[in-house]
């Protein structure tokens, strides 16, 4: 695995990587629908969580800017001491590993549920994870360039999904809004926020950014735009499927299947399948890279060339062991994992911010 100060990525590559991080849970198996009593309120969960994420990304970016060339693990050590830094490093490694595991499982389940029900999901997970490990081993630049190349192509597929089903949207399906009150939307918002908190990988990416002084502007603008897009997609799904949405496992896939323009433009789901494989591949590669980087920085490893492959092997096994089936995976993500990860990530960010204020004396800009 190539790492180090020489590996640099551009702001555009950073945005592409973050885009793929958020895209996978939105277009693959989405557990959020299980927790909302009224599907017409679902888009609100997306919108609110996106707004919260803007604040989170802003904080994380400013922290990164205060510690140029240092990753979140390194400046945690600087601010809170070596033992705490090591602990945080291990916890973050576990966090990124778990994200990679459920992302891989989501893809496997999605292929099982959509087009290849008889092929064991281990085949999809194994094949893609090994490839992602190979990309992660080639270094962050390779992962970033792969994401950069795919970003416009997959964005086009997403825009097709947003625009082409507009004719089938029924506006009456958005009403009545908040019939059970705002409180009932909080669990779904937490789940969406949990997925958005995967942007924590930013803490490892900022030191590699070619123009770190622009990171806050870029990431905040991107998060806002991404939130708008994801909310719009949620709105379209609600408008097309209505109350049946919570019963559907693969909303994006079914949405793509419904697209038909004239008598010639149809079968868009083949493009969505491509975007599943490619975007999930990039995300898993990034998460494996993040996992290995956490371990490398925590334990000051000098030899880590085969670590991504070891991580991939472990990840394939854990993607099977952690989740018995798609329902148990959705439940695990919706309840314990959301509470754990949101608490962990937000506490860590808040702790670092306070420590920065105490040690660094506030905003120096």
């Amino acid at each position: 695995m190539k790492t180090g100060a020489r590996e640099q990525i551009s702001p555009y590559q950073l945005i592409a990587l973050l885009f793929f991080v958020r895209l996978a849970p939105r277009t693959l198996v989405c557990p959020t629908t299980m927790t909302v009593p009224r599907t017409q309120d679902l888009w609100l969960a997306d919108a609110v969580s996106a707004m919260l994420t803007v604040g989170f990304v802003f904080t994380l970016s400013r922290l990164g800017q205060r510690h140029p060339g240092r990753s979140i693990i390194q400046y945690t050590e600087d601010l809170l001491g070596r033992p705490v830094g090591m602990l945080i490093g291990m916890l973050l490694a576990g966090y990124f590993f778990f994200v990679a595991a459920y992302t891989a499982r989501m893809l496997g389940e999605a292929f099982n549920m959509s087009i290849m029900p008889f092929t064991p999901n281990l085949v999809f997970i194994g094949a893609l994870t090994l490839l992602a490990a190979n990309a992660a081993r080639s270094g962050l630049e390779v992962v970033a360039r792969t994401g950069e190349f795919l970003f416009p192509l997959i964005l086009i597929v997403l825009l097709l999904l947003l625009v082409l089903p507009l004719g089938q949207v029924d506006s009456t399906r958005f009403l009545p809004l908040l019939r059970d009150g705002l409180v009932r939307v909080i669990p779904a918002t937490s789940i969406e926020f949990m997925f958005y908190l995967e942007f924590m990988v930013l803490g490892l990416l900022i030191p590699h950014l070619r123009a770190p002084e622009k990171v806050t502007r870029f990431t905040v603008l991107f998060t806002a735009a991404n939130g708008l897009m994801m909310t719009a997609m949620c709105l379209i799904m609600v408008g097309v499927f209505g109350p049946t949405l919570d019963a559907l496992g693969l909303q994006a896939f079914l949405l793509a299947r419904m697209i038909r323009v004239g008598e010639f433009f149809e079968r868009v789901e083949a493009l969505l399948l491509a975007s599943w494989v490619l975007s999930t591949g990039v995300k898993i590669a990034l998460m494996i890279w993040a996992f290995c980087t956490c371990l490398r920085q925590t334990f000051s490893l000098h030899r880590w060339r085969h670590l991504p492959y070891a991580a991939a092997a472990l990840l394939i096994a854990c993607s099977q062991l952690f989740f018995a089936d798609v329902v148990s995976m959705a439940r695990l993500l919706a309840e314990p994992w959301t509470v754990t990860s949101v608490t962990f990530i937000l506490s860590l960010t808040a702790l670092l911010w306070i420590a920065q204020l105490v040690r660094g004396g506030g905003d120096t800009d």
Partner: protein
């Protein structure tokens, strides 16, 4: 990882390979003052070869002069008039001492274009192989040699492998000097620099590294120089050999150096800040650094109007992708994803495939392999019987295979479309890569359907983004994104918009000044007023 394992296996398979110092030189062989000894040495060194001509002439003063050359390599008119006639000229009767004779011959009498002096017999023998005539005066331990080479070469013709409708019809030929002169005629500027060297311990093939000094990046030239210095091989017969010895990714199926025999292509590359390598004995020159998209562009993109160039590039990209994945898409859809087909087409395909004994993947691999054999036979066969084989292969065997129920007619159409698409890719090396990669993709499609194809394409993409050509990322300007470079990648911007050289390849030089866009007289600013 796999590459490293492969590398280790190959290095272990090479028998008795020992590393040698590439700069190791032989000991010089002294020249004997006695011409008879020198004559014997030369004849022995060449094994009394029939084409080696050694003569002992006498100056008017009586001193013996040994003159030797290789018949067939020298121009006899120049040899007779500028060397032999001068030595045997009766007027120079005063040249009694060997030293004086040597000096006068070198400075005044030998009137061929240039005369070199050496005390090493090996160098003289080597000079003879380049078409030089050597001269050794009795009593001297130094010799002279002069280039009297006769160029017998193929005329400058239209390139056979890269035809174009518009643009220059000049292609390179096998003679290095002719090729360098062709470039000189197109770049009439002293900043066109040519560095020459010999490669191949036995063949001593001349190789010229050519670049425009102010456009090429110094690190690119340094890198090429160091790679050429590291070449250790007995002979270089074709640019493909050198390409394999200097390319960035020797195990990659994708070429990282472009081969071309078109003069305008090489000149265009020079103006984009690339370097050109010409190898004596082959019309195919090497261009580097290049990117993936260089292979999808053709010389005439720049000569036709920009709209046409842009649309054609789009088509070429589409046909390249077609040539890569069409058979695998057929296999995946007919085997796993029939729901993606319109009902009528599905029914027809099912009817055609009824009775075919093989799975679609096997059927596709067999037909693709059969087509490759046919193509190979077409290239090797004499031209007279070539068309006959095509008729037998394509019409008779194809139709009979369908009638016998061995393959479906839809697959024949797919294979034919794939073949046509592969011929439409301008970069032949890239088309070969697509041909090779088609087979694993078909097998992936046959086992994992669309997932297999997407997985294969993802693997290819990861490989492509990790490739570099002399330090330049292979997918530049798409990954990494270089906005200025997009003007000449998938689109071909108008010439008045091509204001800069490729950013990561060339030095920052202005190509077209601002305000170069042509406008009708009414809209033009007055004379002398500069546009901004």
């Amino acid at each position: 990882m796999l590459m490293k394992i492969l590398e280790k296996i190959i290095s272990r398979m090479a028998p008795g390979h020992k590393s040698q110092d590439p700069h190791q030189k032989r000991e010089p062989v002294p020249i004997c003052p006695d011409p008879r000894n020198n004559e014997a040495y030369i004849l022995k060194a060449y094994g009394n070869s029939g084409d080696v001509v050694v003569r002992r002439l006498k100056l008017a003063s009586g001193l013996e002069v040994l003159v030797a050359h290789i018949d067939g390599l020298v121009d006899h008119r120049i040899l007779s008039a500028n060397i032999v006639a001068r030595i045997t000229d009766e007027s120079d009767v005063g040249l009694r001492s060997p030293g004086e004779a040597h000096r006068v011959l070198k400075d005044r009498l030998l009137t061929a274009c240039q005369v070199w002096e050496t005390d090493d017999m090996t160098e003289l023998l080597r000079a003879m192989t380049w078409g030089s005539c050597i001269v050794i005066i009795e009593g001297r331990s130094t010799g002279l040699y002069s280039n009297v080479v006769e160029h017998k070469e193929r005329a400058v013709e239209e390139p056979g492998t890269e035809a174009s409708i518009r643009g220059s019809k000049e292609g390179f030929n096998e003679n290095l000097r002719t090729n360098t002169s062709l470039l000189r005629r197109r770049v009439r500027d002293p900043r066109l620099w040519i560095e020459e060297r010999s490669l191949g311990n036995l063949s001593r093939t001349r190789v010229a590294l050519i670049y425009i000094k102010t456009l090429v990046r110094e690190e690119v030239v340094q890198e090429i120089r160091s790679r050429l210095d590291g070449v250790e091989i007995d002979s270089i017969q074709e640019s493909g050999q050198l390409e394999e010895l200097i390319e960035d990714a020797p195990y990659s199926p994708f070429p990282t150096v472009l081969r071309s025999e078109r003069l305008d292509r090489a000149v265009g590359a020079l103006f984009e800040g690339r370097a050109v390598l010409i190898i004596d004995g082959t019309p195919f020159v090497l261009l580097a650094p290049i990117t993936f998209f260089t292979f999808l562009s053709a010389a005439e993109d720049y000569f036709e109007r920009w709209h046409a160039g842009t649309v054609l590039r789009g088509f070429r990209l589409a046909v390249f992708i077609t040539s890569l994945i069409l058979p695998s898409l057929y296999v995946a859809i007919t085997t796993f994803h029939q729901e993606l087909l319109p009902t009528i087409l599905l029914v027809r395909l099912a009817a055609q495939r009824e009775g075919v004994p093989f799975p679609a993947a096997v059927e596709a691999v067999l037909m693709e392999a059969f087509f490759e054999v046919l193509r190979e036979a077409g290239v090797r066969l004499p031209r007279i019987v070539g068309p006959a084989i095509s008729i037998v292969g394509v019409l008779i065997l194809g139709e009979t295979a369908v009638q016998a129920g061995l393959v479906s007619s839809a697959l024949i159409i797919v294979v034919a479309m794939t073949a046509i698409a592969s011929f439409a890719t301008p970069g032949f090396s890239l088309a070969i890569s697509a041909r090779l990669l088609r087979f694993p993709l078909v097998l992936l499609a046959g086992t994992l359907g669309l997932f297999g194809i997407y997985w294969g394409l993802f693997a290819l993409l990861i490989h492509l983004v990790s490739l570099r050509s002399l330090g330049v990322p292979y997918l530049e300007p798409m990954a990494p994104t270089v906005l200025s470079g997009l003007k000449d990648t998938l689109v071909r911007a108008p010439w008045w918009k091509m204001d800069a050289q490729p950013e990561l390849i060339a030095q920052d030089e202005e190509r077209v000044p601002p305000g170069a866009r042509p406008e009708p007289p009414g809209k033009r600013p007055p004379e002398g007023e500069k546009k901004t």
